[in-house]
């Protein structure tokens, strides 16, 4: 795709930047903690943009003061799912907001094959379009050469 020449998945914050180092991730987490957000770790191997709910890796971490706890959890998740997408999400529990305030990918598969455009002919001459990840041709947990 012309809009994404690197062929990398661009979801969440910082996704057009080079991968964040652990020190940079720690700084982001620290920023979120200062704002009072609760961090959580999630993973998936289905990169479809409408796949909103990824699998949770453990519970969301409330009442943390230091980024080290989140980082430890993230590293554990990386060890368990080295070929999956992993993201960190910050939940803002302020009354009236109660939603995700930050979200960025911290781990991605070595090779991301990207998406194909699927066309479907409808009634008359209408065309329906959708995207499908090449990776999801294979069953779950066998994608990305895991």
């Amino acid at each position: 795709m012309m809009t994404n020449p690197t062929g990398r998945l661009t979801q969440g914050q910082f996704s057009f930047l080079p991968d964040l180092t652990d020190a940079e991730i720690a700084l982001q987490v620290e920023y979120g903690l200062k704002k009072g957000y609760a961090w959580s770790v999630e993973y998936t191997d289905d990169p479809h943009p409408r796949n909103t709910y990824w699998e949770m890796y453990g519970m969301p971490m409330f009442d943390l003061t230091d980024a080290a706890g989140v980082l430890a959890e993230m590293k554990e998740c990386r060890k368990t799912f080295p070929h999956h997408y992993i993201r960190l999400m910050a939940f803002d529990s302020t009354r009236g907001i109660e939603s995700i305030a930050m979200s960025f990918i911290v781990n991605r598969p070595a090779r991301e094959p990207g998406f194909r455009l699927v066309r479907q002919e409808g009634v008359g001459r209408t065309m329906r379009y959708t995207v499908q990840s090449y990776a999801t041709d294979r069953p779950e947990a066998e994608r990305y050469g895991a």
Binding site: L17, P18, D19, T21, D22, A23, E24, L27, G58, M59, M61, D63, L64, T65, D66, A67, A68, G69, V70, A72, E73
Partner: protein, 313 residues
């Protein structure tokens, strides 16, 4: 990981350590220079002022502080300085100030620069050990994550291990604890506290725990003059004071109380003072029509002390 293409302000320098330091101030060469740059001396002074007695504790904190200063000087010469293991174990009789010191320790270590955040998470067995299979590990890990960047204080730590029940989940909590104590020394300081004899049994059955704790500090019992100083400090904190005769009476009270069983040092002193306050209150309460001055309201009388059960025998 590739080197970043951009720089985040305030980010720990990953590519060139030491560059930022050199750009700021010249590296310190003497102990006095380091002391001037840090709060070490203020911390030590405050400790001396606020805590009565507790010589071994103060000495150990002074040693730790000294190591920090020397490490900074070593760093200026480019010598490696690994973070020392700071896990501690406080043992001592009831009321010798184990919990009080632990509460302050988080603050002290933070100001000395050993922990990043300086908060204290105080837990007991209930917070670490679960009730069914598979409950313990997530529970312990959650507590550990909360304590990271600060101090984890485990009160009555010997309850973690129950030798009489071999299916007890406490062993699992200890295992996870040991792992984190070893691997994430920079992130977390663990302080165990408990009575001396029971902690000894605890360590005998968990030798791994004992060897991973660098500082075993024994809290001595207070001498009677120290107890008196503690009492006056407690009263001052509550905006009370002894009448001159009351002080003598309390001195006598302490001497008698020390002979009796179950004396819990500072805790017994606090309880005695609380009871004296009650007696003072009912003494004043009885005089309905008297105008009470501030002195009346703040002074503990000799009668308030002498009415104690200790003097009865």
């Amino acid at each position: 990981m590739t080197t970043p293409l951009y720089a985040i302000p305030g980010a720990p320098a990953t590519s060139a350590p030491g560059v930022t330091e050199a750009a700021g101030v010249a590296p310190p060469r003497t102990v006095a220079q380091v002391l001037a740059q840090s709060q070490v001396e203020a911390v030590l002074d405050e400790l001396d002022r606020d805590l009565v007695g507790l010589k071994p504790v103060k000495q150990r904190i002074r040693d730790i502080a000294a190591l920090l200063v020397i490490d900074k000087l070593r760093l200026a010469h480019g010598l490696a300085a690994a973070t020392p293991s700071l896990h501690m174990c406080f043992t001592g009789n009831p009321g010798t100030g184990k919990t009080t010191v632990a509460m302050r320790m988080a603050q002290i270590l933070h100001r000395l620069g050993y922990v990043r955040k300086g908060h204290l998470v105080a837990v007991t067995r209930d917070d670490l050990v679960g009730q069914y299979i598979g409950h313990t590990a997530p529970k312990t890990k959650e507590v550990l994550k909360k304590a990271m960047g600060g101090v984890l204080f485990i009160d009555e730590a010997y309850y973690l291990y129950r030798p009489e029940n071999e299916r007890d989940y406490g062993a699992e909590a200890i295992e996870i604890l040991l792992q984190v104590m070893e691997n994430q020394r920079d992130d977390l300081v663990v302080i165990l506290a408990g009575y001396k004899d029971r902690m000894d049994t605890f360590f005998q059955s968990n030798p791994g725990m004992s060897s991973r704790i660098a500082h075993h500090i024994d809290f001595p019992d207070y001498a009677s003059d120290e107890l008196m100083a503690i009492a006056e400090r407690m009263l001052a904190g509550m905006a009370y004071r002894f009448a001159p005769e009351a002080r003598a009476a309390f001195d006598e009270y302490l001497a008698r109380r020390l002979q009796q069983p179950h004396f819990a040092n500072a805790r017994s002193v606090r309880n005695a003072l609380d009871r004296a306050r009650l007696r003072q209150a009912s003494r004043l309460f009885a005089e309905r029509d008297r105008v009470l001055t501030e002195a009346d309201l703040t002074t503990l009388d000799e009668r308030d002390i002498r009415a104690s059960r200790v003097f009865a025998s």
